[in-house]
């Protein structure tokens, strides 16, 4: 119990520190929303009118920064995230976030889970038959693919499957822009089609790490005494592979997986950029480019919370799975 309380306390402290940094760091960056707006409107508009307009949207540069900070903390917790003062000037931040979030969760979330499951499976099989044909082909291939940059993989896939094949698979957007979102088979098919290339990109570039770590953990585990005992007992190979070896070899990977789930929400900026996929990562990039404090704050807050929650869940899960952690925690 003390362990849980301590973890929760740590969680709250980290959250507060992160939120505080999240407020001050953007304001220490060079530039300000007014300059960014002036540059975007090519200096043709009256700066006085633009400043008035930003003020109307809630930007108060002359207010005491501490007062702003307290207001910011309250707003973060009450969900009043304000109105964008960047490239989407005037759009409520919550609208932007809720529009982008499902796409990021759908694309990056699903592919992360897929990459983990698929990668672990391949790793298990490769380790079981180490030295075999699978093991001598796949790990080296994935060492290479995991070193490839996301955007490069994306561009190559676009070249092969979209440009050379004259639009066999769509290379941009989350669905055809002239379609209206609706719950129909045609629309869902369209969405899935648009997800193929970006998902393949993430999969190709991230699966390698899972395969390699899983394979190595597995090889270590296979040398353990209890595996040898399983064999001596005459258990079937598949039983030893899955129930004895893989189950234990998976443990270290699980915490890595929990953390990567936390990072899902940050999206995959480059993939979203290359594929014109309107997710959170892209919004973050734009918010930073345009010194859009309200949007940046809300996004960083979400990312922080997501990662911290993932870590917390991971801590609890490990404590539950591994008594040693619990023991040291309560001593």
């Amino acid at each position: 119990m003390r362990y849980v309380v301590r973890r929760l306390g740590f969680f709250a402290l980290t959250l507060w520190v992160a939120l505080t940094l999240n407020f001050f760091i953007p304001r220490f960056m060079p530039g300000n929303p007014l300059d960014a707006l002036r540059a975007r409107t090519h200096d043709r508009l009256s700066p006085a009118a633009l400043e008035q307009m930003l003020t109307s949207y809630g930007f108060k540069p002359h207010q005491n920064i501490f007062v702003q900070y307290l207001e910011y903390l309250r707003n973060m917790f009450t969900g009043h995230w304000g109105i964008s003062i960047g490239a989407t000037l005037g759009e409520p931040v919550s609208t932007i976030v809720w529009q982008a979030l499902p796409w990021t969760l759908g694309l990056v979330g699903v592919t992360t889970v897929l990459a983990f499951l698929l990668g672990s499976l391949i790793g298990v099989v490769a380790a079981w038959r180490r030295g075999g044909r699978l093991d001598s082909v796949l790990p080296p291939v994935f060492v290479v693919t995991s070193a490839l940059p996301y955007f490069w993989v994306g561009l190559m896939l676009i070249l092969v499957f979209s440009v050379w094949t004259h639009g066999w698979l769509p290379s941009d957007f989350n669905y055809d822009p002239d379609l209206l979102p609706e719950f129909s088979l045609g629309f869902i098919e369209n969405v899935l089609k648009h997800a193929v290339l970006p998902a393949a990109t993430i999969l190709i570039a991230s699966i390698g790490a899972w395969i390699l770590t899983m394979r190595n953990n597995m090889i270590t585990t296979l040398a353990e005494d209890y595996v040898r005992m399983g064999r001596a007992k005459g258990l079937s190979n598949s039983r030893i592979m899955t129930d004895y070896a893989a189950r234990n070899a998976m443990l270290p990977n699980l915490s890595g997986f929990a953390m990567s789930l936390g990072f899902v929400i940050t999206g995959s900026i480059l993939v979203e950029y290359v594929f014109n996929y309107p997710g959170l990562g892209y919004q973050l990039y734009n918010a930073v480019q345009n010194t859009d404090y309200p949007l940046m704050q809300a996004l960083f807050m979400l990312f922080t919370v997501a990662v911290l929650v993932a870590l917390l869940v991971c801590d609890f899960a490990i404590a539950w799975l591994d008594p040693r952690v619990r023991a040291t925690g309560s001593r």
């Binding site: 975007r40 090519h42 200096d43 759009e91 639009g167 309107p278």
Partner: protein
């Protein structure tokens, strides 16, 4: 239009370059009716559209926005006005920057200037309806201008504060605008750039409380199109059946996807999925033009890309005239244009007059007499020697530019080479956009590479921005547009005479200002930035061309985009 910077994608050159490249705009003050001083305008709108066409067809616009759509259409919100002005809201008079400020009457059927051009009376067009069926009247016009007085955030062109607008009143079908001083240079802003909004909607309680921040998700305007529907990925416009120009628009539907980056946008242009392009395409011949005989491009120049030297005495090297003259003479602008800009941005000249757009203001003999008609390395070397520099005692200078604007980096590589030959050791410093902006505005640089992205229907607009001393500020303070800190009372006087001058005198005033550019070299133009424009003629015809430049062709220009849409028609619907 955007604007955007290359992230990694540039490596494979599929991606774009620079938002910077998309400069296209207009600002500050000044005259428009250069060739039409009396203000009599023909009453037949759209006079360049010869024949009428059958209705039908769809146009897809590829104008990289760098953002998903917010689905707001408030014409006073600078983040969205380019998608509402021209499409939904219309100006009083359309002024064509590319064709010597030729005018097309829109919501005003004619106008007359009062004495000294201190007042102007618009006659408002009869028979115009708002898209909700309500009649449009002079009251709506007066309401729009008075709204800008009541809510200063909506007075984007500082008409009430800077231009000296005093009263706006409607009587019958006339609207009178009275100014405290000659207002002719502001005609461009109040007649062309301001969209007229409906009083009956903007006086409802919710709107009247915050007209500056009102979302205006379902805009009601007089324009040729209505929004139906809008989502984060796409704005779809459909033709307004009540439109006052009978039979128009010919095009019945516009698809306007929200492209986040140039790479995807340019691919859709190359494949013909989009017909109307408005951003830089690297290696355009191979990437776009060769893909189909129906693909065309015409990107008319509108402003300068230039080197801003810091003229403040605290910067002893760049405030020295001989050094600036030497730099300007050493730069091979043709090469900068060819290598740095893929030949898509033409070379600029030292007068800062954009050619061929503003030919009538250009004095070729003065440029030749001053020695700026072609690169002259020998003369540049002797100028450097006169300033006390030599190959053994080179001048070290740093130029700041914006990270990710790869075309500018390529241009600067050429310039660096040019300057090395006259003994200037140039260091190029790439800065993040925000850092660059604040250093440019506050004068924290020796040299800065930037495209003054402001234009208007004569060179007056851009040159006044750059050279007028009221647009500058001391080092450390934010200058509005005169970043190089140029202060010359004689040049200020030329600008001050311009508003009340007749059109012939205005041309001569601009020529004198061009002469000051040659004498003082306050800035060093290198290339001319253009309106990026690519178009596909497979099904859609009626595009603006060099032979018929009836409006600025890039989709991010307003209200010009509305003019283009009134000319386009579908071949298959005929």
């Amino acid at each position: 239009m955007r604007r955007t910077k290359t992230i990694a994608a540039a490596v494979v050159s599929l991606s774009l370059l620079a938002a910077a490249c998309t400069s296209a705009t207009k600002k500050a003050t000044s005259s428009s009716a250069a060739n039409n001083p009396s203000g009599s305008v023909s009453t037949q709108p759209g006079s360049t559209a010869k024949a009428s066409h059958k209705q039908g067809g769809t146009v897809t616009i590829v104008n990289v926005q760098g953002q998903t759509w917010s689905c707001q259409f408030n014409p006073f919100n600078p983040a969205v006005y380019a998608e509402s002005l021209g499409f939904v809201y219309e100006p009083l008079v359309f002024v064509n920057l590319l064709n010597n400020a030729a005018e097309t009457p829109m919501l005003a059927s004619s106008y007359t200037w009062g004495p000294d051009k201190k007042s102007i009376t618009f006659t408002i067009r009869d028979g115009v309806k708002w898209s909700d069926g309500q009649p449009f009247s002079a009251d709506d016009v007066a309401f729009t201008f008075n709204l800008m007085k009541r809510v200063p955030a909506t007075d984007l062109y500082s008409l009430w504060t800077g231009a000296g607008l005093q009263t706006v009143t409607a009587t019958g079908n006339k609207v009178l605008l009275s100014f405290a001083k000659p207002a002719q240079p502001y005609f461009w802003y109040f007649a062309d750039q301001v969209g007229i909004v409906p009083q009956h909607i903007w006086t409802t309680a919710a709107v009247a409380a915050h007209p500056d921040t009102w979302a205006d998700a379902n805009p009601v305007g007089t324009g040729p199109f209505k929004v139906s529907p809008c989502g984060p990925n796409n704005i779809q416009y459909v033709a307004n059946p009540n439109y006052w120009q009978a039979g128009k628009p010919y095009i019945q539907k516009i698809v306007y996807p929200g492209y986040l980056d140039n790479g995807p946008g340019n691919r859709d242009l190359a494949s013909g999925k989009g017909q109307w392009g408005s951003q830089f395409i690297p290696n355009i011949k191979q990437f776009y033009l060769s893909k189909s005989p129906d693909n065309h491009t015409w990107s008319p120049p509108v402003t300068n890309v230039e080197i801003f030297p810091n003229l403040d005495p605290s910067h002893p090297q760049t405030s020295k005239l001989a050094v600036r003259q030497a730099i300007s003479m050493a730069i091979d602008r043709n090469k900068v244009s060819q290598i740095g800009e893929d030949g898509q941005q033409p070379p600029a000249n030292q007068t800062g007059i954009i050619l061929p757009t503003f030919n009538m203001y250009y004095d070729a003999s003065a440029v030749a007499a001053a020695g700026y008609d072609k690169p002259n390395v020998d003369k540049a070397k002797s100028l450097m020697a006169s300033a006390g520099y030599s190959p053994s005692n080179p001048l070290k200078l740093t130029i700041i530019t914006i990270t990710g604007y790869t075309d500018w980096d390529a241009s600067l590589a050429v310039i660096k080479q040019n300057l090395a030959s006259i003994g200037i050791d140039l260091t190029v410093q790439d800065l993040a956009q925000q850092t660059f902006n604040s250093r440019l505005y506050t004068g924290d640089f020796d040299l800065a590479y930037y495209g003054e992205p402001t234009s208007g229907p004569s060179p007056y607009y851009e040159l006044r921005q750059i050279l007028y001393s009221k647009n500058t500020a001391p080092i450390g303070k934010s200058a509005s547009t005169n970043y190089e800190r140029y202060i010359n009372p004689a040049v200020d006087a030329l600008f001050d005479q311009y508003p009340s001058a007749d059109s012939a005198t205005q041309v001569s005033l601009i020529k004198q200002i061009g002469q000051a550019m040659l004498n003082d070299v306050p800035i060093i133009p290198t290339t001319e930035s253009v309106d990026w424009f690519q178009y596909n003629t497979k099904d859609i015809a009626g595009w603006p061309t060099p032979a018929d430049p009836y409006a600025q062709p890039a989709a991010f220009n307003f209200p010009d985009a509305g003019q283009v849409l009134l000319h386009l028609y579908s071949k298959s619907a005929q």
